[in-house]
């Protein structure tokens, strides 16, 4: 039942900074009762242009309340320029991670913050997000711009991920084709951020893997994710050694003399290993070791 980090539980049970600042310098209200969650953020600026106080009121589930509480803690002491740079991933990371299907709670926090800053600058009344363009998901009223942004900033590749992050596509599903097009467009436009990691095995074992666990997971990931792809091109791979976070591999078959081996190493080998084993792994070829 409690699929939440300790920090989420703490911020839900003991929310910080609940309330509304009466003479706020910025107000941001997003979401609605219909959507199932809503957040009203107010902040006060101090002499040096730093946020001295921030308060929230939230309607929503535990992670919506925790995300709002975390946001108010995070932005206190920030200048508006600093606060502007806060992403939904920062909020999720501050909380020690959120379940995938709850990521939209962190996105709601980021949206309220942006709106409150726009409100301070006289660009918004604090309740309406002035977004140009089309509504893609009519069930949840999600705009194209919102979808593009969560896809870009969180490296999303699947429609279900988009739904988890901004609710788009979670209702009647008729916008799924449009969402897929947006995902494809963003992917074509440039490299996306490192995707949020789903490492059930690594998570089960806890953050600190022993070397033996790590090697075993690397072997499994090579077998499942990497080797089949290399074999399509007549290549193969061999795990030689693990030195801290350096994974030393030998490229075999066609891969051994391939012009794009370096690319293969990064994309096909290092990517999955980081995804399924550990973020800090660096893959190097054995020749480079010699």
């Amino acid at each position: 039942m409690w699929d939440y980090s300790e920090k989420v539980v703490d911020h839900f049970l003991n929310p910080r900074n609940v309330g509304e600042i009466d003479d706020a310098d910025g107000v941001g209200e997003v979401g609605s009762l219909a959507c199932g969650d809503a957040l009203k953020l107010t902040f006060k600026l101090g002499a040096e242009g730093r946020i001295t106080d921030a308060k929230f009121k939230t309607f929503g589930c535990a992670s919506a309340i925790a995300s709002s509480s975390a946001l108010t803690e995070m932005i206190r002491g920030m200048t508006l320029e600093e606060a502007e740079k806060v992403t939904n991933r920062d909020i999720a990371e501050f909380l020690g991670g959120l379940p995938e299907q709850k990521m939209h709670c962190s996105v709601m926090g980021r949206e309220a913050l942006e709106l409150a800053i726009a409100n301070h600058r006289g660009l918004s009344d604090g309740t309406k997000r002035e977004l140009e363009g089309e509504v893609v998901c009519h069930c949840f009223g999600v705009m194209r711009e919102d979808i593009e942004r969560v896809v870009r900033e969180n490296g999303l590749r699947k429609i279900e991920e988009v739904t988890s992050y901004c609710k788009a596509g979670g209702g009647c599903e008729t916008c799924h084709d449009a969402i897929q097009e947006i995902i494809d467009e963003v992917a074509r436009a440039g490299p996306v951020a490192q995707a949020p990691v789903d490492r059930p095995e690594a998570d089960r074992l806890g953050k600190k893997l022993t070397n033996i666990q790590k090697i075993r997971l690397i072997e499994e990931t090579i077998e499942r994710e990497i080797r089949p792809r290399l074999r399509l091109d007549g290549g193969d791979i061999e795990l030689i050694d693990l030195d801290g976070n350096r994974v030393i591999v030998g490229m075999r078959g066609n891969c051994a003399n391939c012009m794009t081996a370096q690319f293969t190493l990064k994309e096909t080998v290092e990517g999955p290993l980081r995804e399924f084993v550990s973020d800090d792994l660096v893959v190097v070829q054995e020749e480079a070791e010699a």
Partner: protein
């Protein structure tokens, strides 16, 4: 104090049921199909359980087929009969069925069947004229639940069964929530197929029953041996069958008295919560409702948050909120009733059992208003300032 008010999800196994089951793990572990004394003694107890279940339902022994759960019973009822009437390609069900029926019917639609899902009104009631109109020469089966798991609303099954019989179409009833809480007499109500789940009536999980009226053509879902007269292959789950038999016996002995006591507690709980919490409404037809269920929407707060705070003080219930469903879609039952999103998200289902006590109800009545109040203090919405719809105002 820990108080379990989620009995529509599952129930505690009755101590009497555990006692009845134990010998069939320890000593009498034979296979009832075997031709020796180890099997023979056990087969007798399987038959005894079958008789007890049949007695509770007003059925005959041969009409009781043991399965692994309510879902298997529903699947067998629908898929097992449709294959026997291949020339009829229309199914009628409702918009508020349990996923065991709903998902199966939608899968059948993807396999080429025409599917009619009957709607319900704001109280969760069916329009029987709509059912009558929907039945055509092509209709193979009608599948309607006896009582709704989320709201407890009870459908007029006698009438529905009568309509189906008069039109010559099969009628399957998912009675998983009804058995043990409502008097059922299949010798009078012309139901062809009826699904039961053990763990909703104080037997363990992993045992179910499909009632198959004598003469109903049914293909097995599970193929293999000739158990259950060829209607469900697989070695009988003897201890659980015996347990379900005992559970049904307990129901038969105590149902009227227990229902009266449970209903009194449910009514007091509901009355006090509505009195002590503002902006709270009951979902569903309160006139035709299971005695143990109360579904209440607390406006301006969200269900998952309520449940987690309840859990902090030892209270267990469930919610129709989107956040507890694993998807963004809140309860399909409350949505079909047209309950506004604003109420669905804060809906909590309290479902009682014979094991709840008045002292427990006192504790719930004391705790829930505090929880609602605490969340409303955090919420940007209040009665005086209900809805500031922003860009993301969902469709309704």
């Amino acid at each position: 104090m820990n108080v379990y008010l989620d009995n529509n999800a599952t129930t505690a196994v009755a101590p009497e049921v555990i006692d009845a089951m134990t010998p069939f793990f320890k000593d009498q572990w034979g296979n009832p199909s075997s031709m020796h004394r180890f099997g023979g003694a056990v087969a007798h107890h399987v038959q005894l359980a079958r008789e007890r279940i049949a007695a509770l339902l007003g059925a005959q022994r041969g009409e009781i087929v043991f399965t692994s759960c309510g879902t298997e019973s529903d699947n067998t009822a629908l898929r097992g009969t449709l294959t026997r009437i291949p020339d009829k390609r229309h199914i009628i069900t409702t918009k508020v069925e349990h996923p065991a029926v709903r998902t199966t019917c939608r899968w059948l639609r993807s396999q080429g069947y025409r599917l009619t899902e009957l709607g319900v009104d704001a109280q969760g009631r069916l329009d029987l004229d709509e059912l009558t109109d929907a039945i055509s020469d092509d209709t193979a089966i009608v599948s309607v639940m006896w009582a709704n798991n989320e709201t407890g609303v009870v459908f007029p099954i006698d009438q529905i069964a009568g309509i189906c019989k008069s039109r010559g179409v099969l009628f399957h009833c998912d009675a998983v929530q009804a058995v043990g809480k409502i008097q059922i007499d299949l010798s009078r109500t012309p139901i062809d197929l009826l699904a039961i789940s053990g763990h909703k009536l104080h037997a363990p999980k992993g045992i179910g029953v499909l009632y198959v009226r004598r003469g109903t053509k049914l293909s097995p879902l599970m193929m293999g041996g000739h158990q259950e007269r060829g209607r469900r292959a697989g070695t009988e789950n003897v201890p659980y069958i015996v347990g379900l038999g005992r559970a049904c016996e307990l129901v038969a002995e105590n149902m009227a008295e227990e229902n009266r006591r449970v209903k009194a507690m449910r009514d007091r709980l509901e009355r006090e919560l509505l009195k002590r919490c503002s902006s709270a409404v009951v979902n569903g037809d309160v006139e035709h409702r299971l005695p143990n269920t109360s579904n209440i929407s607390f406006e301006y707060v969200e269900g998952e948050a309520i449940l987690l705070l309840m859990d902090q003080v030892g209270l267990a219930a469930s919610s129709g909120s989107a956040c507890t469903s694993g998807s963004l879609e809140p309860s399909h039952v409350l949505r079909a009733m047209g309950v506004p999103f604003t109420c669905v998200h804060g809906s909590i289902r309290f479902s009682l059992s014979r094991y709840n006590t008045e002292a427990e109800i006192d504790y719930v009545i004391e705790q829930i208003p505090r929880i609602i109040e605490r969340l409303r203090e955090i919420s940007p919405y209040t009665e005086s300032k209900p809805i500031a719809d922003s860009v993301r105002s969902g469709s309704d």
